[in-house]
Each structure stands twice: as structure tokens, then as C-alpha cells.
Symmetry: C2
Subunit: 249 residues, 2 copies
DNA sequence: GCAAAAGTGTTAGTCATACACCCATGT
DNA sequence: ACATGGGTGTATGACTAACACTTTTGC
């Protein structure tokens, strides 16, 4: 006996009204999916991870890594599971940000999709397309291919949401390698917030958070003065977060 | 022929894979609902509107006004429709804030719920419980009855979300009557943000937004100095919002 | 005239902004 | 030696936070 028939039985046991059949017929024929917007950064541009679809609908299109959610699967876990199935990315924290629910957004029937985003350090993970994803690749957020469903809107929404968070919390560090230069952070924030900052003021502000640890190491191999490498003090940040904490760029 | 069978037929036409039956069986047996957290304010306390359920499940309990969404109904419109059906509140702007999707949150089967909140001026609307809602009443957010489903969590989440927005945008004015005193705003913000403000500094800040219009009228009938009445300059606020705008309490 | 809430200014400290040059390295 | 990006300090104005008394009304 599968899960949906257990559910139906459950419903029959509980509902002693004549309405019971109607409720089953009228409402319990929808599905829902999760879609994941994974952001990365590569010194230049903010990137989004897309997969090449090897299954209907929209087979042969680049799209967000997303899929239908099983009936016996918690929503938040489904987001992680789907991302892992399609890209091999494991144990990524996914932040839910919006649910898209237009009637005709999915050609197979009524499917609403719950959208999540994540930030990853590109160098830390190997991406391996699997399951029905034929390929997975980073695309610059500003140079996206045509996307199926409402995925363009989803990415736009994710970007907006991420910008707002990043402006108030030093959240962008999750996109940088373990150790990084101040110039890298500045470029990252300039990419996220789509603006330019004064170098001196930016450095003062970033350092005044007291959340960066000087690794005492320097970058090598460049034809210029080597930059100091810092790392992010995650533990301190988590402590501060609990006690309420603010930060504005 | 009803909507779900049209969908199923549609699916059969498009999917020429042997997987088609599995997809229908495996996934298209969920439902989804909307739940609305309507905030109000009454000089003292932040309030939430609850209905008394006259239908299963959880018949005889106070709960958020929420219901299942029809298969042929846009999500955002469903939120408005459900609120109207249950409480008579018409044409209220509902802001989506989170989707709750634990497997066992609904006793009838797999139902995820998309939660919305709204802010209303209590004096401007008549609330009339209708449909399967037997009654509708304001409850102080800090004195809620026991709630079914995950509605306690939903309200907590809404409150948090609303607090964050209110801290950065003069959004709370939507809870006050058309004209109001500075003291009322202060009490409102103190209720929302659960803190106390210095009267002089608060007034300076609120007035420095230049979004209040002095009506040149005063409160009457109180045994103390009458307070000046202001109204909110919505048009100016909307203009400012477009050009990016910030405000912090 | 008294109770009750409305209303009002100043000061000190902190923070944001604007701005231009020298430094360390590789080639 | 030169090209390249890294790194630094100061002055000005704006904003924040702390604080106590007078005003106006109803009774």
C-alpha cells in the first residue's frame, strides 16, 4: 500500500461527512515542487547554478535544479534532497524565500513550487550532474539563457531577497573561499549590491565588524603587492547573531 | 469534466513515457492551503484575527482563517478569496511570507500551507464570520488560545517577519486609523518591536521622515492636553519607495 | 488646583562620507 | 623602471542617545 492510499484511507476514517469525496476529488490532485537557486561567485560575477534537463517537461532546456516533492517528504528536506540528486551538492543549507503558485506554471497539472536559495564556495564543492540532469553549469546572473516555467522570475526574486539580506548581514562571505583578500570581499559586495564602494571606507567598515581574522598570510604569484588574507570568524558571528546584531552596507 | 481530470488528460497527452502513470500516482495527490495572519492594533496590543472552526478537521477550535486552494485558482488570489469567504474582509493586500510543509501537519493527507499576512485598520472594516467560520475575533498576539495545525509557529513567523519590515519601513501606519496622534504611533511601534522609545527622540525621528501631514485638528474629550492629529502621506511614501528609501527605528 | 498625557531643545559622542598618495611585488 | 593592484588617515557634517521640565486640557 502506497503513501497516497494510506492518506486517502486516513481521510475516509476521519471524515464522516458526505463532503469527503468532494474534498478528495476537488483538492487532493495537486503536486508541489522545490526549486533551488544556488549562488556562487568567481572574482567577477555572481553566478547561478543551472542544470540541463534530460526529462520532460522542457527536456533540453537549462533550468533551475528543482523537482517534485514526494508525499512523505518534509519540504525543507526535499529541497536538499533534490539538489543532491541533481547536482551532487551535499549538505547545503537552503533558505526558503518564496512560493510561486500561478495556475498554469507547470504543463503537467497544478504544481506550485517552493523556492530556496543557497550560497556556496565554488572551490569547495564538486558539481556532478546526476539523475535526469544531463549537465550542471554556472551562469552569470546577468547572462542567463532562456528559462522554462517561471524560473526567470524565481531567480530575480532570489537575487532581490539575497541583496536585502546581504546589505544587513555579512552573509556574502559564504560565497568566498576559506581565506580571501579585502579586495575580493569588496568585489563580491559590489557584485551583489550592484554598486561601487570607496576602498578606504569599505575596509574600515568591514574591519570594524571585528569578524575577520588576519591569517598573517599573503597572496602569491601576482605582479603586484601581495594582499593580506583573512578568514571569517563564523563562531563569533553566530554568537553575535543570537544577541541581536546589526550591520549595514 | 472537472479541472483535475482535464489536468490528468493533459498530462497523458504530453507524457509518452512509461513513467507517466507513476508521476500521477506518486505526486499528484497533495493539496495546498493558504493561511492568513491578519494583524490589527487597538491602542494597547497587537492583535491577530482568528476564526472559530465549524468544520473538520479541528472543528470547534480557534484557528487562522485559512483553507484549501482550488486547482484552478492562483495562489495569491486564493489568499484573498479565503479571507473574504471566512471573514468578509474584502480587498485586503496579503503579503506572502513563508510556506510550511512538514509531512504530518494536516490530518487529511499531505497539505502544505502558504502563509500570508496583512495589516488592517480595525475601525475601517466590519468582520463577519461566514462559510464554515462560526465566529471571528481579535486575540492579542501575546494571549493566544491553543491553535491547531502549526498555526502557532505560523503566527510567530509572521510576527518576526513583520517586526523586521516595520523596523525599516514605516509600514505600521496601516494599522492605525486615518488620523492618529504621535503617541499612538509610538505605542504601536513599541508593541510591534516589543521595546520602549524615548518620546522626544521618537518624535524627532518620525517627523524627520516628512511623511506625516498635520491635520491641524486635535483629539477631544480627554482629561488632558489634546494631542495633534496627523495622517500618513501615502503618495509621498510610494514615490520614495520607488527611488529606494531607508528608514530605521 | 490637580491629575494626566502632550509637547519640547541641547549637548556629547559616534558614524558616514569624501578625498589622494605611497607601497610591495613581478616582469 | 614601470605596471599593477594593495594599502592607508583625516576633516567635516550628519545622526544618535541621553536627559527633565512646561503646557494644556477635564474634572
Amino acid at each position: 500500500m502506497n503513501f497516497s492510499s494510506i492518506l486517502a484511507q486516513n481521510l475516509n476514517q476521519q471524515l464522516k461527512l458526505p463532503a469527503k469525496k468532494n474534498i478528495l476529488k476537488e483538492f487532493f490532485h495537486a503536486a508541489f515542487s522545490v526549486d533551488n537557486v544556488v549562488f556562487g561567485f568567481d572574482e567577477e560575477d555572481l553566478k547561478v547554478l543551472l542544470i540541463y534537463r534530460g526529462a520532460e517537461p522542457f527536456k533540453g532546456n537549462w533550468a533551475l535544479p528543482g523537482d517534485l516533492v514526494h508525499l512523505d517528504e518534509d519540504l525543507d528536506l526535499a529541497a536538499k534532497r533534490v539538489l543532491y540528486d541533481l547536482t551532487g551538492l551535499d549538505n547545503i543549507f537552503m533558505q526558503q524565500f518564496h512560493t510561486f503558485g500561478k495556475v498554469k506554471r507547470h504543463p503537467f497539472g497544478r504544481v506550485i513550487t517552493v523556492a530556496y536559495y543557497a550560497l556556496i564556495k565554488v572551490e569547495d564543492y564538486n558539481i556532478n550532474a546526476a539523475s535526469w540532469a544531463k549537465e550542471a553549469r554556472w551562469f552569470s546572473v546577468n547572462e542567463l539563457p532562456n528559462l522554462p516555467f517561471d524560473h526567470k522570475e524565481v531567480i530575480e526574486y532570489a537575487k532581490q531577497n539575497f541583496m536585502e539580506k546581504a546589505r544587513r548581514q555579512p552573509i556574502g562571505f559564504e560565497l568566498l573561499p576559506q581565506s580571501f583578500t579585502l579586495t575580493q570581499i569588496q568585489h563580491l559586495y559590489e557584485a551583489i549590491l550592484e554598486s561601487k564602494f570607496d576602498t578606504r571606507n569599505f575596509r574600515k567598515k568591514i574591519l570594524s565588524m571585528n569578524l575577520l581574522i588576519d591569517t598573517k598570510k599573503t597572496e602569491k604569484g601576482k605582479a603586484n603587492r601581495p594582499a593580506a588574507l583573512y578568514k571569517f570568524d563564523l563562531k563569533k558571528f553566530e554568537k553575535l547573531q543570537k544577541s541581536g546584531f546589526s550591520f549595514d552596507l
